[in-house]
């Protein structure tokens, strides 16, 4: 039984059927890639996991509890972190603060009023945050404003913000979109390195180079349906997958 089980999920926007009876079983510790052409429903599916969207029917179970109908912050507190397609960071705050906030959220829960302590003297939290920033290679920039970072660094920062929480499941929505080849390879290395921590990951990705260097299992989504699933080698040779990528998949 996997850590995340998706059963018969359907989602329509008006007349458009974005997801059609999607089933997914993500094993613990796996790097599960979801690939598919534009508009296949990849991001919609991810949004159903974090509480941004609610499926019309079906169930999403994480570690035995349902993720449907609960707020995004509750889903995160249950152990699901997400990296967005366009980095969602605290742009007006310094890098170190950006990472200290999720650290505090993990330690103190969804709402704690500590209005008398001092952030600059919270040594334990600060150390933990610095450590993660070192892992992603941003520790020298820790006093900079997050807005002044390059796009690649923003992604790295967002990843650090997720990793510091030691989530059970990490969702990565196109972690290398718009990156140069060198930056992409850096990110792959980074993701491989954090793979050693045993965090289960779901990766949505267009770049096949990234997918095949990371994934242990791949699901192919086309027009809202899973059309193929298996180990990377199986997927590479599957004619249906090639069809879906080359032209419209008429099933």
């Amino acid at each position: 039984m996997g850590i995340l089980q998706v059963q018969d999920v359907n989602k329509s926007f008006g007349g458009l059927k974005a997801l059609h009876n999607v089933n997914l079983d993500v094993e613990e510790g796996a790097v599960h890639a979801i690939i598919g052409p534009n508009g296949a429903g990849k991001s919609t599916l991810l949004n159903c996991f974090v509480g941004r969207l609610k499926p019309d029917t079906g169930s999403v179970m994480f570690n035995g509890t349902s993720l449907l109908g609960i707020a995004p912050h509750e889903i995160n507190q249950a152990g699901v972190a997400r990296v967005f397609q366009t980095p969602e960071i605290f742009g007006d705050l310094s890098l170190i603060e950006n990472v200290m906030i999720p650290t505090l959220a993990k330690r103190d829960g969804a709402y704690t009023v500590n209005a008398w302590g001092r952030v600059d003297q919270a040594a334990e939290i600060r150390e933990k945050a610095e450590h993660i920033l070192e892992d992603v290679g941003l520790v020298e920039k820790q006093e900079m404003h997050a807005n002044s970072l390059s796009r690649g660094d923003k992604r790295r920062l967002e990843l650090a913000m997720c990793l510091v929480q030691e989530p059970k499941l990490l969702l990565l929505d196109e972690p290398t979109a718009g990156m140069s080849r060198a930056d992409t390879n850096n990110t792959i290395d980074l993701l491989k390195r954090i793979g050693e921590r045993g965090i289960t990951k779901i990766v949505i990705e267009h770049d096949m180079h990234v997918v095949f260097s990371l994934a242990s299992k791949i699901s192919v989504l086309a027009q809202g349906t899973v059309i193929a699933e298996g180990a990377p080698e199986e997927i590479k040779g599957d004619p249906r997958v090639q069809e879906a990528y080359l032209g419209g998949a008429h099933l």
């Binding site: 967005f84 007006d92 705050l93 200290m100 906030i101 505090l104 709402y111 600059d120």
Partner: protein, 381 residues
């Protein structure tokens, strides 16, 4: 160049702030602002603006209804004077509690929305409160006339200790009358405490969460933080500051009217905060002082005074100058305020505090250049 914030630099700022406030009667003398009535206003509206800044500056929610809490604070304080005691301590405590409860209610509903919709909701609530105070709630607020003290008030606690005198007794702090300089010092001490609390909040993990709300609410939620109770806490804290300010208005002058709750009063505190510097610690205080000072100075000018000032000009020219300048003073001083506000928003969006920082950076850079020229090979520290 960023200045690192430490406990030491904060303590120093706190000390200088307290010193500056307590010595106001001395250093405000040259500009003719050292009389107690005006300084009381500086302190009271400073408290109001500092509290408002916790919501607007830190959390990023622009409330257009904070005057409602100011009014609630004033009414509560006057009722405390009427029913319990002329001592200001219970009046201040009750005002803060009642304003806090009232802001919890309004905040709870208004914070369901953010941005412009939040602002409109708070404005609507404040106008409702104003109209209620003006008409329906006349038994509590005494409507148009405003709530005043009367000789026949019960004053239960006072009645136990002292014999009723001939006239209406005055507000006091355990016997010290709350008018003139002693009134100013009472407000000043509360202002310093209020400033210290806002400083601690700004530097605390809670303050960091509030800044995070302002920066990116989406990321907040996906980071496992529930934004609404954080914003509501900030709303209630700033409502309590407003209640405190309202009670002090009643302490220094024991009456409360509905006009204190009107939207112009809510707008004024927004102006103060933006003028001084949104999100800065000292900005709101600075803005409050400047607006209240200008209000007093410019609105006191009249035609005779202007004619005296410009008497050195030839007669025809004097008339023209006086009639033009006359538009900007007296009743029309809001015109001056408006122009000042426009200049600040366009050229210094960070308010006067940003202006001061720019000047400091400019001077610092010049000095650094000089020293680096003097010792060529060394790196300036």
């Amino acid at each position: 160049m960023t200045n690192k914030i430490t406990l030491r630099s904060d303590n120093m700022m706190m000390g200088l702030f307290a010193l500056a406030i307590l010595t106001m009667p001395i250093w405000l003398m040259p500009i003719g602002a050292s009389y107690p009535d005006l300084m009381q206003k500086f302190a009271i509206f400073g408290i109001f603006a500092i509290g408002f800044n916790i919501l607007f500056g830190l959390t990023g929610y622009l409330s257009f209804g904070h005057a409602a809490f100011l009014g609630v604070g004033s009414y509560t304080a006057v009722w405390s004077f009427k029913l319990l005691s002329m001592n200001v301590v219970p009046a201040v405590i009750f005002a803060v509690i009642v304003a806090g409860a009232f802001s919890f209610l309004i905040g709870f509903i208004s914070l369901r929305r953010s941005g412009i919709y939040f602002s409109i909701l708070t404005l609507a609530f404040a106008q409702m409160s104003y109209n209620l105070a003006y008409s329906v709630l006349t038994p509590i607020t005494n409507g148009e006339t405003g709530l005043q003290l009367a000789k026949s008030d019960p004053r239960v606690i006072d009645g136990l200790f002292v014999e009723a005198g001939a006239g209406i007794p005055s507000t006091n702090f355990f016997g010290i009358p709350m008018s003139g300089y002693s009134g100013f010092y009472f407000c000043a001490v509360l202002l310093i405490i209020g400033f210290y609390i806002s400083l601690r909040i700004t530097r605390s993990p809670f303050g960091m969460m509030l800044k995070a709300i302002k920066s990116n609410q989406n990321r907040m939620s996906y980071t496992g933080l529930n934004t609404r109770p954080y914003a509501l806490t900030a709303f209630v804290i700033s409502g309590m500051y407003a209640g405190l300010a309202g009670s002090l208005l009643a302490v220094t002058d024991p009456l409360a009217g509905a006009e204190r709750m009107q939207w112009t009063a809510s707008g004024e505190v927004v102006l103060m905060t933006i003028l001084g510097g949104v999100g800065t610690l000292l900005g709101p205080m600075l803005g409050a002082v400047i607006i209240k000072y200008f209000e007093n100075i410019f609105s006191a000018f009249n035609e005779t005074l202007l004619n005296n000032i410009f008497s050195f000009l030839p007669e025809g020219l004097q008339e023209v100058v006086v009639s033009v300048v006359g538009l900007f003073v007296g009743e029309g001083w809001h015109l001056t305020l408006g122009i000042l506000f426009m200049i600040i928003v366009i050229y210094l969006p960070g308010g006067l505090v940003e202006g001061a920082q720019r000047i400091r950076d400019f001077v610092g850079r010049k000095r650094q250049k000089k020293t680096s020229e003097a010792h060529q090979p060394q790196i300036a520290e």
